[in-house]
């Protein structure tokens, strides 16, 4: 079994895993970081989105071994010294979550889109959310929260 090593939320993480282990399994089962969710397991819903070397990816559609040596950021790595990340704070402020299941993926996707799109507008946010599904269908407030956070972070 290959040993896989990467940095997760700034800390080194390493484990002996089967080659077929998905990145999301590594994060949830090896590291116990269960904030990253599995909604569909078929690459559609985005509940499992994390950042690998700064880019949003679906961790259910990547082998842990593919992330060898990478910097991985999950929802648990966002808050600093007990302070929520501005995107987390905006989701709370604007009621961007109902049951909260899609939220970790929504927030990781939002941070990535804010980084890539200075001057985000509503149309772009909706387009960029293509790969994230909210079963509670609270999209209006999700979009509101992302727009507010992008203003805040400018």
């Amino acid at each position: 079994m290959p040993v896989v090593s990467m940095t997760v939320n700034g800390k080194p993480a390493s484990a002996d895993v089967e080659a077929r282990t998905l990145l999301v399994q590594f994060i949830r089962e090896q590291l116990g970081l269960t904030g990253t969710h599995v909604g569909c397991d078929t690459s559609q819903c985005g509940a499992c989105v994390v950042h690998v070397d700064g880019r949003a990816v679906k961790s259910c559609t990547m082998l842990a071994a593919q992330a060898e040596g990478a910097e991985v950021l999950t929802i648990e790595g966002l808050a600093k010294n007990g302070e929520l990340h501005p995107v987390q704070a905006a989701f709370r402020e604007h009621h961007g979550l109902q049951c909260g299941f899609c939220t970790p993926g929504m927030i990781m996707t939002a941070i990535d889109m804010i980084r890539r799109n200075p001057g985000l507008d509503e149309e772009t946010v909706r387009e960029e959310l293509e790969g994230n599904i909210c079963r509670c269908t609270g999209y209006h407030n999700i979009v509101k929260a992302i727009l507010a956070a992008s203003q805040e972070m400018r």
């Binding site: 290959p2 880019r55 559609t61 889109m113």
Partner: protein, 265 residues
């Protein structure tokens, strides 16, 4: 997923050697098609050879009158490339319209054309721009590469290295998305360049991407949306499924072709 042995070679030569040695290997690039396939147990390779760590396969170069794109270049990289936007904006826009941001961060051009999904976008760009596909064994013309649904001219152990796109004078891609999957119900790529005029259609054909000769002839004489407005492709051989009948797709080909010519200007 079934068990497999995983390798992540650093060079193309190592990847070829590993492919040669293994019983029933599969190349892994971005994994956006292969991993879902493995998860559904639709494939059972003995070895997965990950080419994602081969630096020489990840590049974009504009040279002379063409753009060269390394096989392991991500869709997002192509979409954002200043060179691609400048010389071939239709190609940049096509790459930027594949799937969603997370898929574009992982999926590669080589994986997309090797897979040859009948609804994939890149095959339309390759056929519509007279692209050259360079592999570890030979050069394959786009016209010779796409052989049918999920079938290509690639042989066992053959790795795509690079795709060369000559610069078009005019080009555009119009995709009518399936509202759920966002794959093309019908996508039409039109171009004019040193190769003449090309019209390539994805999403519609049962055998994958194809060219529409009647439209190409009409556009060679008169490059305008009106020139293709009266040209219908036959519904025979087109996909019919719960998303749309073959007749509906045939109709969409004309509509998308008109829009693409208008967008190309």
């Amino acid at each position: 997923m079934y068990q497999f042995n995983y390798e992540r070679p650093k060079t193309l030569a190592d990847a070829e050697a590993l492919l040669g040695k293994a019983d029933d290997p599969k190349i892994l690039a971005g994994g956006q098609t292969l991993i879902p396939t493995l998860k559904q147990r639709l494939a059972m390779p003995s070895d997965v050879i990950d080419i994602g760590g081969i630096k020489d396969l990840d590049f974009i170069r504009a040279e002379g009158d063409a753009i060269m794109i390394g096989a392991a270049t991500r869709h997002a990289t192509v979409a954002q490339s200043a060179d691609v936007k400048k010389h071939n904006p239709a190609l940049a826009a096509l790459a930027g319209g594949i799937g969603d941001p997370a898929v574009r961060h992982m999926g590669t051009i080589g994986g997309s054309i090797a897979n040859n999904d009948p609804a994939a976008d890149y095959p339309a760009a390759c056929l519509g721009l007279d692209a050259k596909i360079h592999t570890t064994k030979r050069l394959i013309e786009a016209d010779e590469f796409f052989k049918g649904m999920f079938e290509t001219a690639l042989q066992d152990g053959e790795i795509i290295k690079e795709v060369t796109f000559p610069h078009p004078e005019k080009a555009a891609y119009m995709k009518f998305r399936n509202p759920a999957s966002r794959y093309a119900m019908v996508g039409v790529f039109v171009s004019r360049g040193p190769w003449g005029v090309r019209v390539a259609v994805t999403g519609a054909g049962q055998n994958g991407v194809f060219r529409v000769n009647d439209m190409e002839e009409a556009l060679s004489k008169n490059w305008s949306p009106e020139a293709v407005a009266g040209i219908k492709v036959p519904a025979t051989g087109l996909n019919s499924d719960l998303h749309g009948s073959a007749e509906y797709r045939a109709h969409l080909v004309t509509v998308m072709a008109k829009r693409a010519v208008a967008a190309a200007g």
